[in-house]
């Protein structure tokens, strides 16, 4: 397990798998896990590496290239690693201005002008989405890897999960702004179950019709800046959400 620019939430998901963690620990030999121990970075080679976080600094880019070179299966986990994450919002803005506004000594800050997903830099074997990732899905990916099959991670819309759990649609009853129809399933449709629209944490689903959703948001009263804000959240730098948000510049 490695981390780049991220909040550690996805790593915590693995620690959270209390019941399954023992089985995981039995099946694999965990050699590096920053959130669980402070052991120094081993050299590799590794059979499997889970990487959390996006590429935000040149040091991270170097580290990432090193990891890739000595890893057989590289799995990226979470919105940061797969789409750039919330920090990728800076890609839409003036990076230097951000740095000046936030830090007292901007000259101490050494960061790239963009925060980008890992697949932009090195080859990735599997991307597990989410902000944070879902624990059931993480276990599924690890198991599938051990058994040697394709992980059963559906690329369908959040709506299907929402309907399976019997939630009443918040768009239809309340005109709530919801990214569910264009968002990758996996969270179990949590937000609509608490009467909120989906924030798109898992990023775009297969073939999202973002245009049709933007039209709907507008019909329900959103103006261009609002539509842009809806698409630019935790996974706003993903290709499809980015392109849709740019249509509302």
């Amino acid at each position: 397990m490695f981390k780049l620019a991220s909040c550690d939430g996805c790593q915590l998901t693995l620690l959270d798998c209390e019941d399954e963690l023992l089985a995981v620990a039995e099946a694999v030999d965990i050699v590096h896990f920053p959130e669980a121990s402070s052991k120094v970075l081993p050299d590799g080679p590794f059979d499997v590496v889970l990487v959390e976080g996006s590429v935000s600094t040149t040091a991270q880019l170097d580290e990432l290239r090193h990891i890739r070179a000595c890893t057989r299966v590289l799995i990226t986990i979470g919105a940061c690693a797969t789409t750039g994450g919330i920090q990728a919002l800076r890609n839409f803005a003036d990076h230097d201005e951000f740095v000046r506004a936030v830090y007292a000594r901007p000259d101490y800050i050494d960061s790239l002008t963009t925060a980008t997903p890992i697949a932009d830099h090195v080859g990735v074997d599997f991307e597990l989405r989410g902000c944070p990732i879902d624990k059931g899905q993480l276990i599924e990916v690890i198991t599938a890897l051990l058994v040697g099959r394709k992980p059963a991670i559906p690329d369908e819309s959040v709506c299907l999960e929402c309907k399976r759990r019997g939630t009443v649609c918040v768009v239809v009853t309340k005109n709530e702004a919801c990214l569910g129809p264009v968002t990758h399933a996996g969270c179990g449709a949590i937000c609509p179950a608490f009467a909120r629209g989906c924030y798109g944490c898992f990023g775009p689903r297969e073939r999202p019709n973002t245009r049709a959703l933007a039209t709907l948001l507008k019909k329900h009263g959103a103006d261009d800046p609002e539509v842009r804000r809806h698409f630019r959240l935790f996974t706003g730098y993903s290709k499809e959400f980015r392109e849709e948000s740019e249509r509302h510049e």
């Binding site: 276990i139 768009v171 009853t173 569910g180 019709n209």
Partner: protein, 647 residues
């Protein structure tokens, strides 16, 4: 005789049902909508509430009376109780490396559904047909259905999205109910239609004099039917829709449609499901689970090497034509009951009546669909694999192996049928029988993905799961005495080998046999030694061609269609084709150009499969299911849709 009861007495009905041991499921208010959920008393009914509905919109509103049933249908349907959104089908226990599969019994409660409308009663009957009318029967569904008691309600006020009158399913709730209510003012008319219903009626505080109330009730129901919010022109609708697949409206709706699948989830008749194996990391017992699926996902129509419905247009087309057209062929009724749910719960408000009316009015020539097939219902759902031992493994080519399995007890198959082969935690995949004798069963499979890869790695003595045989076979008896030409591409030779062996063994019945076989390179030729044997003993005239030759190859080069052109083939012969769809497409073109009648040609089709028994909806191919009506089809049955995009 109908009787009358005061609306305030509804709670005595709920109490009676509870006393009889039922869990009472009824309309009740939750999260801004009228949902179906368990109620403890009649006080939880939405008394004095109604729903205002428009495409993509649903709002609750207070009524100015205290009607208990003064609304129509909401986001839920009764299918969530009879066909749960998630359900375990089979469990698997591995003991000493021996997998053991067993069916999950249904031990759910007995439900009493209160407030089932005409449309929903029809929807339940439609799902009864899907799940219990064969060839395989979903026993868990049937058990839940048999236990369930239905209290129907006639509609006296239509909603803005209702069109049951067009579909012939309402507003009167006719069909398989136990008790039926009609609300008139502050009274209810009560009618019983079954022994269970009469027993309830006997115990309810009803009064005689139902006839007078009946007159008023009938009037209200008739008026309701005349005041439908929507209508659908159903005259010749299936043929009109199938004749207008090129209508520009499909593209238009594809631009609006989110392909979110909400319509399919909300629909009370949609039954597609996915079947997955749960993880085996955390224990030695795992489960195979079925969950609601939708034709709007990519996975639904994806097989190795092809996605049959890649875009929103073809997915919407599949949904609409299935509901309103091909369903008729599959199950003998429309798949739509006119409840309007898909209109309300579509976030962007796409209206099935508007789309279907517009498309059916298009200029296309009506294309009638085949008559519905009748199946004999068996007693099981075919989902439980039996453990079988691998007797031997032969590596045929670099990516293809033949697994010889011990023959399961009592197993019999037709040539061309397939089995589902399972590995614990990996899932199961359809593989044709490539040969058999009294003791063993052969499967020849190409390693293209995770499941086939894991199967190809098996060694002698390993145990895997097998369920089957499924599907149709090559029509071997029809071929007796006639010329038979087998045309195979790549791995497509495997399903043909078993029939070929049988015909070779019965030389007197099949004196004129020909095999045209095309493959990628000389190294990809399957069963090469056996092939040589056949050629040498001249019981079959075999011609092999490769796409790309090498230095050792002095045979034919080029696609298999070239062979068809070169050999003079009998017009009155029978043709069996199996291979990639594109190869069959070109082969068919050659044969048809040579005036071979469509009914003399048989093809073996492939679509995504999960259940293999006609219950998961995945392998739909227009009006057919590849798993139960195929994989072997007589070409004239599918010539209308073969090679067409979207199918």
């Amino acid at each position: 005789m109908p009787e009358r009861i005061a609306a305030t007495e509804l709670n005595s009905l709920v109490s009676l049902l509870q006393a009889d041991g039922y869990r009472v499921i009824a309309p009740t208010i939750r999260d801004g909508a009228i949902v179906y959920d368990e109620i403890a008393s009649a006080g939880e009914l939405p008394v004095g509430w109604t729903d205002d509905q428009a495409p993509g919109e649903y709002r609750l509103r207070r009524r100015d009376d205290s009607a208990a049933f003064g609304y129509v249908v909401g986001p839920h349907s009764w299918k969530q109780f009879l066909f749960p959104a998630r359900e375990q089908l089979v469990t698997l226990r591995v003991r000493d490396k021996q997998p053991e599969w067993s069916a999950v019994a249904d031990e759910g409660p007995a439900y009493a559904f209160v407030g089932v409308r005409g449309c929903d009663l029809a929807a339940i009957e439609i799902q009864d047909t899907v799940f219990t009318k064969g060839p395989f029967v979903d026993g868990r569904y049937r058990a839940r259905r048999d236990r369930c008691l239905i209290i129907a309600v006639n509609c006296t006020e239509a909603g803005d999205l209702c069109f049951c009158a067009s579909m012939g399913t309402g507003p009167r709730a006719d069909g398989d109910y136990d008790l039926r209510l009609t609300e008139v003012g502050d009274e209810l008319l009560v009618e019983a239609a079954s022994a269970r219903g009469r027993s309830l009626m006997d115990r309810l505080p009803t009064q005689a004099g139902g006839e007078a109330l009946q007159v008023q009730a009938d009037q209200a129901i008739t008026q309701c039917g005349d005041a439908m919010g929507r209508s659908l022109n159903v005259t010749d609708l299936p043929a009109k829709l199938m004749g207008n697949l090129e209508h520009p409206r499909w593209q238009d709706v594809a631009e609006r449609c989110l392909s979110c699948g909400n319509c399919t989830m909300a629909c009370p008749t949609c039954f597609c499901s996915n079947i997955t194996d749960t993880s085996i990391l955390s224990g030695d017992e795992t489960a195979r689970e079925r969950s609601w699926d939708s034709c709007f996902t990519a996975d639904h129509s994806t097989i190795h090497g092809a996605q049959f419905r890649p875009d929103v247009k073809s997915r919407y087309q599949q949904w609409l034509t299935h509901k309103l057209a091909t369903w008729t062929s599959q199950f003998g009724t429309s798949g739509c009951v006119g409840c309007g749910r898909c209109i309300a719960w579509c976030p962007v408000g796409i209206d099935i009546t508007e789309e279907a009316n517009a498309i059916a009015a298009g200029p296309g020539h009506p294309a009638p669909l085949p008559e519905p097939k009748q199946y004999e219902a068996r007693e099981n759902d075919g989902q439980v694999p039996v453990p079988v031992r691998v007797a031997s493994v032969v590596r045929e080519t670099h990516d293809t192996v033949t697994l010889t399995l011990d023959l399961p007890d009592g197993y019999q198959h037709g040539h061309g049928q397939f089995n589902m082969l399972s590995l614990p935690g990996v899932g199961d995949v359809p593989i044709s029988v490539s040969g058999s004798n009294g003791q063993a069963l052969e499967h020849t499979l190409r390693d293209v993905g995770k499941a086939t890869g894991a199967l190809a790695d098996l060694v002698t003595g390993d145990v895997l799961g097998l369920r089957g045989p499924f599907g149709t076979a090559w029509p071997i008896e029809e071929a007796v005495g006639r010329s038979v030409v087998l045309i195979a591409g790549g791995i497509g030779l495997a399903p043909l080998r078993s029939v070929l062996r049988e015909m070779i063994a019965r030389h007197d019945d099949f004196p004129h046999l020909r095999l045209l076989y095309g493959t990628r390179t000389p190294n990809d030729i399957l069963f090469s030694r056996e092939l040589l044997g056949w050629i040498q003993n001249s019981r079959v005239r075999a011609h092999v061609t490769v796409d790309r030759g090498d230095s050792s190859w002095d045979g034919n080069i080029g696609v298999v269609t070239k062979l068809i052109r070169r050999k003079r083939l009998p017009k009155d012969g029978l043709y069996f084709l199996c291979g990639p769809e594109i190869m069959m497409h070109f082969a068919l073109a050659e044969l048809l150009a040579d005036d071979v009648p469509e009914k003399n040609i048989y093809v073996s089709m492939e679509r995504n499969m999960k259940c293999a028994v006609g219950l998961c909806g995945r392998c739909q191919y227009g009006p057919h299911f590849v798993c139960k009506d195929g994989p072997v089809f007589r070409y004239d049955q599918i010539s209308d849709i073969f090679g067409k995009s979207g199918f």
